[in-house]
Symmetry: C2
Amino acid sequence: MHSAVPHERIAIDLGDRSYDIVVGAGLLDRPEMFDGLPPASDAVIVTNEAVGPLYAARLTTTLRAHYRRVHTVTLPDGEVHKTLSTLNSIFDELLAQGVDRRTTLFALGGGVVGDMAGFAAACYMRGIPYVQVPTTLLAQVDSSVGGKTAVNHPLGKNMIGVFNQPLRVVADLSTLNTLPQRELVAGLAEVIKYGPIADEAFLGWIEEHLDELLRRDVVALAHAVKRSCEIKAHVVAQDERESGLRAILNFGHTFGHAIEAGLGFGEWLHGEAVGCGMVMASDLSARLGLIPKSHAERLRDLIGRATLPVVGPALGAARYLELMRLDKKALAGEIRFVVLDGPGSATIRPVPDALVAELVEANTA
Amino acid sequence: MHSAVPHERIAIDLGDRSYDIVVGAGLLDRPEMFDGLPPASDAVIVTNEAVGPLYAARLTTTLRAHYRRVHTVTLPDGEVHKTLSTLNSIFDELLAQGVDRRTTLFALGGGVVGDMAGFAAACYMRGIPYVQVPTTLLAQVDSSVGGKTAVNHPLGKNMIGVFNQPLRVVADLSTLNTLPQRELVAGLAEVIKYGPIADEAFLGWIEEHLDELLRRDVVALAHAVKRSCEIKAHVVAQDERESGLRAILNFGHTFGHAIEAGLGFGEWLHGEAVGCGMVMASDLSARLGLIPKSHAERLRDLIGRATLPVVGPALGAARYLELMRLDKKALAGEIRFVVLDGPGSATIRPVPDALVAELVEANTA
């Protein structure tokens, strides 16, 4: 067997939309990981041009134990294709292949594939079930939990989508072996995030095991993915549709989105921008007197050690403010930020523009 | 006041997705009909080029009592525009107008507007609330209850959509005054449907009050809309996501869809095709020995009196069978039909092709 670690199950408690996340190595090849899904004659694997050639054939073989027909829909790779038009191409293929409602869809890939496949599953014939099979660290610790699906619109990211919980998430750590190091590191930014906002002990664990994570030690990755999913699941269970608490998961994201948008999406990876954004948000928290300066420095050190950027691009404070207002859809008034207010604790605060500007100047070059 | 009849409320019981249908005359002008919706600064009226000029200004005035800004998005009129591309034009306008998540959407129009506005509300920023303000009899008795939203795909009608329940349905009978007679009659087909499938007494009432309905007597229309919604709501409450029972609402629709598709969509109105389809489905029920021939004849008489077609177009039995298989997404095996099996009672039965062919020959010319 592949599995250096036994697989573990994390239960996501969302009432009648509850599901399990299974984390382990080599899961893609084990038909029993897909036991107990609703009976269906057809399975459809939605993947992309980068991931499909690596794993679609293996997943197809595994799913043949459960389904009469296994179709594959291959999307172009990249966030630039996360559009309504690509979504429609999924529908075109499903209808052309005669796929009916008695079908289960499998999202095999990173966050973009998961977002689009989950959205397509929600809308195809008014809803077919779907399973996430995330193959990037970012997708395993972030987008596969929470049921957010979406496509981008020229006027904004993730503007069109629905909440649609998967039936199951099968996170195969072995698929991370083919992930470029830069993407692994970007995923680590979201892993690190869960420490300061929710679990001081996990932050300590990450500091201790960062080197193992960076060299993809499967035992360390298993714990990182499991604990990240547990924390995100705990937050999401309390606020499935993002009316309040769930916003703390966006720690570092307001600065991060400004960096991504200011440089042009794709220049920095999302996780890189979030890593740098967390440095800025921690500094902001210290300047607001909510945490000691030493705590902000500790986080900056960890993010730097993870080989993530800790200094933002010099777009100018005015441009940062403009981009952040746009991102927040709050054109007037103070911008609200997720800030740290203690060990393993975050909250949301409106911050005066002058302080934001000061902070941007201090953290960009 | 407009109201010759006081308004009535029908409670649709769907757990945490429950809502009320308000039926009455002149409701569009009464701000209190829109009391108690979630607080929001913006309202968006989605309507079309035919209905907008008649009612959008009045609804805007009424909604100004509750919302700071009232936007209007006007779609082109007609089923041919019920596409993902028109849906995207709604998103374009909402984003261009800076509409955020604290917005309530109002679908002002017939079934096409309701289907698209409900779908858009489900997907805009992962979901904003919406209210149905149906202005056709068909929409008031059918599409405004049940939460089905969708757009068409070149390979099939209503293939892309979601279940999304409105917060409220405000059915203003006064808006039916501007409805072309042909559309009123088409709506009556769905009203008539509820009798044979679910309520023998209602069937008797329709027979007795058909002339009043045809001349748009508001008291008769109020009862017809109310009772239709009650019956549909009762069925939908037992089967929200259409796994079984809800299929009886498709009485007459398998034949009807074949007529619509065979002649080209739009040639016959949906309700006209369903009216004729009900004649065929009743005859089928009698030929299967499930109801007396006299019951089928009684229904044919009523449908004829309603000025709906009772004889289908001569497409040939083979073509009917082909179209029905396609519609049912069942290319092999016997086609399943909704049939009557007693007074006010329907069920679903597979029927041999030979009998279907015989029936088509007897009911087309």
